[in-house]
Symmetry: D2
Subunit: 397 residues, 4 copies
């Protein structure tokens, strides 16, 4: 349904043409400094009309906090956030309304609910993601206090792909590793494609503009890294951290796949190639020297950078005529009206970051419950080395 | 945590060396004919020792139903299922116990819980999946009454890959499509690799045996198809059907990625190439002629075959000596003892099927709630074409 | 937290002095005719300023539906509802702010969250119940289509009590039974106390006015009946229908107790006195002739009228000076400012009804899932009388 | 359904005549010392055959821990506990099987599920509570490490009632207060009625024996106190601590009502009588001098003793002939066979304690999440007195 998270719960609402869209965030830690400005920055990165690569439709998407804060501090109570829809009027009939749009949600919504919003995508519209981004911005604000950094970027647009997507060995692995270690949102935002590799970005922009001229669309891939993730997050066996990330990412409209760490490429390797040996981190703990695990082992974060790829299909809304069936079964040619994104990838970047923040925030709060509950128990005796190999009270983070 | 599902809820328990493993299934529809034999068949496909490609450890994994049925019918009450662990004794100390195993869950479990099971993988052991498979078998039994068929098979072992994994266009697309339309469990099981394509299966078996001789391991991919899935399943916007499938699959130990329909390859296509036009199904409804959507549009099943790939890394347990750090930070060479699977893929097949069954079953029961609730309302007036384009009461499935 | 329900989920937001209060209803059946007028009627019964028995503060509490409907029909998507707070400004400091108000939530909120809203009750304010009433009105609209009637009324104000509260035998039982069978909202609303028994109502009004003059407050009891509740609702063993009702009622501010059917009085009876024998209902089913069970047996509705009592303490906010400690531990006399309800009972009536509607609606949708899932299985063989004593397919409602 | 709790989750299974009953506890803090002996003690207090006041059926109810511990420490993984049913065989037909037992769950289970267990109460049997008591014992073991004490006792059997149940003012209030402050399980268990007041206990025993001789049964009340409950537990606005307690108590078979603190009697008081003024606790905090609030204000524990009453109806199973309808609508006289408890109250005591422990444990773990999450934020500035009236960092417990 429309709620995500167990401890840090987000419930979104809103269709493409209703009065407003937004969300309620329940379970936010009290005492967090928070104003609308903290949230608006990611909404601005998500909104349409930022460049000639996106839909020309202009919306300001200005958020207000309705509840849950006072004097700029969170009260620990539900935070309702609100963005008005400028265009609320369900549209007039036209020929196109008799067609369920191919690869859109028109047909399945009608089958599932027996009713569907009359225009735009209704609840399957990208406007639904406004609530996610607003909630994610709160999670990020909290996580920054722990040093967590989340940066996503476009790594492929159609056939234009950063090399590591197809081969993580050798030099490509090095490039991937460098990006994961250092990439910043500033670097990502300096290119309108949100690909921080200039040479690739130029080709991506060309690809997008070509598709735009064709009245067509194109897919691509977003890569995301989470740095300084606290150790110990993720709830086996069903809510492993990668499972929650996969769930979150595949809930974003237009996504087709998720892989983390070595991902699908890792299937080609042998165990001795793929395994991540441990070394001392010099601070009493361990770290890994490779990171094929993508920062997650056994479903639990290990302190290394978490990185993953998310596949997006080409936007289903295109202006080229498409031969397809009407609702009544008769066939015709659908000539879509209106404006659309030829490529959703640049705007998907803050959405991926937001969903990542929601997953990490929720997992952190759940682990905080365990950690504090455990810390109030007497230490496990040192001689029980079998279950306590460090021979000491492990201080849960 | 250890519960999966909202309406059809599965809670698993058990570590590698405790007294027993199993699960409670809560929310099973009452009146389903069910005996242990229905469950044992999938447990037998999952258990070790089925061929020389898997671990030689022999366990019978015999299940008993403890509660929730009478005279072979489900009562609608919690069904507890139970498989004893033959070897319950936590092992003696040895040198290897001072090492967290690379790419295993030893280190992260210790960090998360401050304590870990002394031997085997504890809760991260593959034995945890017994509860999933037992529960999945019940879901499948119910779903078969609706005609749902779920078949998974091995499509890649290391570098040996069925061609469609790298290219879904042209002939490869045809081969993929044929497999998806027709593959049966009998065809899958006739090869010990559980790859139904004989020529590929032979090469896969060679690859696995080579890795076994090397005391190494190898990864691979499982492809799964769900046929005759009811229309309308999946709960936007966060519990889209693909999001729940991704969550389920990434919760299986050793998984690294998930893609459905056109998946990562779909990112390279334009919208006009990728979109699935509708045609009349001749029965008053619509169907698609391509199926790049993989049976899911807008997060909701559309009646076409659902298909997806799941990436598995090479098993982390290998017998080759590995230079790695001990818990105390000192380095050494870990020479792992014991027997292990050189390749988890053949045994992963029923696990993937089981998790798929749990997702579909849960989504079906949630949609059943909506469908019956809706059916008790008066029809929407025919003239409200905007939200009811079929101009009639849509009978929710 | 702030979400109630599993299938029909309500998430409320809002403090006493933030920008707005309201809720999101997720999981509402699609195709329900719904406009703001359906909701406003119950909000009007809840709002302050309805008579000289309630707080003179005047608020219109006008609701708008922000999402989830189109052309006056629900889409099956989240319905966000919104009521602006007229007075949003956190107040200026005053002497009273140094006191946590006795029997209020000031102290516990501060202990729990480390921060608290500066004025009014924050989240513990009665304004929080606006979201509940708005959501309950939607549930009621749906339930009315099934013939469900929910009517609550005031049965006690301080020492003025309808007799059946203290003795359900003989004539008192008859009076209770008559009220339960026939009382309507119109009858309830014709008295400003919302007690439909005129003689008692007059004494209650006197009691309230006396307390108002004293700058004091007084408690009381609301009795509620649910007529025509579908059979089979409630989810043993933890979510029995009475358990959910108790949860719902005790979540209303100022409540102290809940009893259903024979309630606390039933503890005095013997089994032979208390048991409800069955008789044929003349339609192929059974009914009970007494109803000490209060319409619920084994945690499941049996089709008889469900009735229960909810105890409300006297409002904690009073204007009489109270000797109490300040936050800093020094003692003083708190002279509360402002206006308050001398008795919350009349305004509690629609809140009790709303929470009852939410419980029944959620339970109905959960049972609908089971019923439709079961109906798709073949019937249980007739000869299995042990588990199927009717010897036939039981048609789940 | 059969899961209780969010952070400390208990899922029970088992009918009266299946192979075993028990539960899975998920989310237990790791590192808790735990053996079967910790659990058996409460199961022994719950089991039948303890005195001539309870059913003569003898069952040992011996528990084994199947998973989740090693070397007597919890691993933080699911703990499955298991009690075999000695008598597993569904019974032979007899005349009584054609009757749904009055005020039992036979009829409603059949209506809800379309099928019912053939003998005993199936899932509505008191044997279901074994899993609750086993889980509650773990919660209690953890809570004891925090000094929490939970003691329940029988305060009424039929007409024999401790005086404070009808009047909490004056001397009765003093007696209640003394009991709440000091009563121990040893004191409770020294009387077979589990009423610690000797004079009343004798009369209760007489009442029970009288009803036993009559082949009848009798109801009563359990009073429970929770001492040293941490401050800050309970999750407004829907999961207030009293709401969760009410939910838990009303989920116990045969319960009819719940009241906490002043309860239903509090409805008769004025605000100035009822309010609990604060005084300094001499340790930098505040306490209340009366405790009409029953340890909970605004839905949140305030550190005072939590106390509440739970009403139990007379057991529905009696051996006196009852005129009632058969399943087929024909009437007859049901002459119940077998042995039964004439009064469930003595055995209900550990069940009430267990459910109380589950509620407090779950609430504590949820608050621990908030507290640790908050503690990692910078303090709120001292000058924001409006929302931070203590002018300092509040250290959440």
């Amino acid at each position: 349904m429309s709620t995500f998270g167990q401890a840090f719960k987000v419930t979104t609402f809103g269709e493409s043409h209703c009065k407003s869209v937004g969300c309620i965030v329940d379970g936010c830690p009290p005492g967090l400094k928070l104003t609308e400005a903290d949230i608006q920055v990611q909404l601005d990165r998500r909104r349409p009309g930022q460049s000639n690569l996106t839909t020309p439709r202009s919306e300001t998407d200005t958020v207000t906090i309705q509840s849950g804060t006072e004097l700029s501090y969170t009260l620990g109570t539900p935070i309702c956030m609100f963005v008005p829809n400028k265009d609320q009027k369900p549209h007039d009939y036209s020929e196109t309304d008799f067609f369920p749009r191919p690869s859109h949600a028109d047909w399945t919504y009608l089958q599932k609910y027996g009713i569907k919003a009359s225009s735009g995508g209704g609840r399957s519209s990208a406007r639904e993601t406004i609530g996610r981004v607003a909630a994610g911005a709160i999670a990020e604000k909290y996580l920054k206090a722990h040093g967590v950094e989340i940066v996503a970027f476009v790594s492929a647009v159609g056939p234009v792909r950063l090399d590591f997507l197809d081969d993580i060995s050798g030099d490509n692995g090095k490039i991937l590793s460098d990006l994961i270690n250092t990439v910043t949102r500033d670097q990502v935002d300096k290119n309108i494609t949100r690909c921080p590799v200039d040479s690739a970005s130029e080709k991506m922009a060309e690809e997008i503009l070509k598709r735009k001229e064709e009245k067509n669309s194109i897919g691509g891939i977003v890569t995301c890294v989470i740095r300084n993730c606290p150790v110990g997050l993720g709830e086996p066996c069903f809510d492993k951290l990668e499972a929650k990330l996969a769930h979150a990412m595949l809930s974003i409209p237009a996504t087709k796949g998720f892989e983390f760490g070595s991902g699908f490429q890792g299937t080609k390797l042998s165990g001795s190639e793929h395994n991540d040996p441990f070394v001392s981190d010099g601070k009493g703990g361990l770290k890994t020297i490779k990171n094929h695990s993508g920062g997650i082992q056994g479903g639990i974060s290990n302190g290394e950078h978490i990185y993953f790829n998310v596949a997006f299909k080409p936007a289903a809304t295109i202006s080229i005529g498409q031969e397809s069936s009407k609702y009544d079964g008769s066939s015709g040619v659908l000539e879509a009206r209106g404006r659309h994104d030829p490529c959703v990838l640049p705007r998907a970047v803050p959405i991926v970051e937001s969903m990542a923040a929601l997953v990490i925030m929720d997992a952190l709060m759940i682990q905080n419950s365990r950690a504090l509950s455990n810390s109030r128990l007497p230490p496990i005796p040192e001689n029980l080395r079998a279950i306590n190999p460090l021979g000491q009270k492990v201080k849960l983070t």
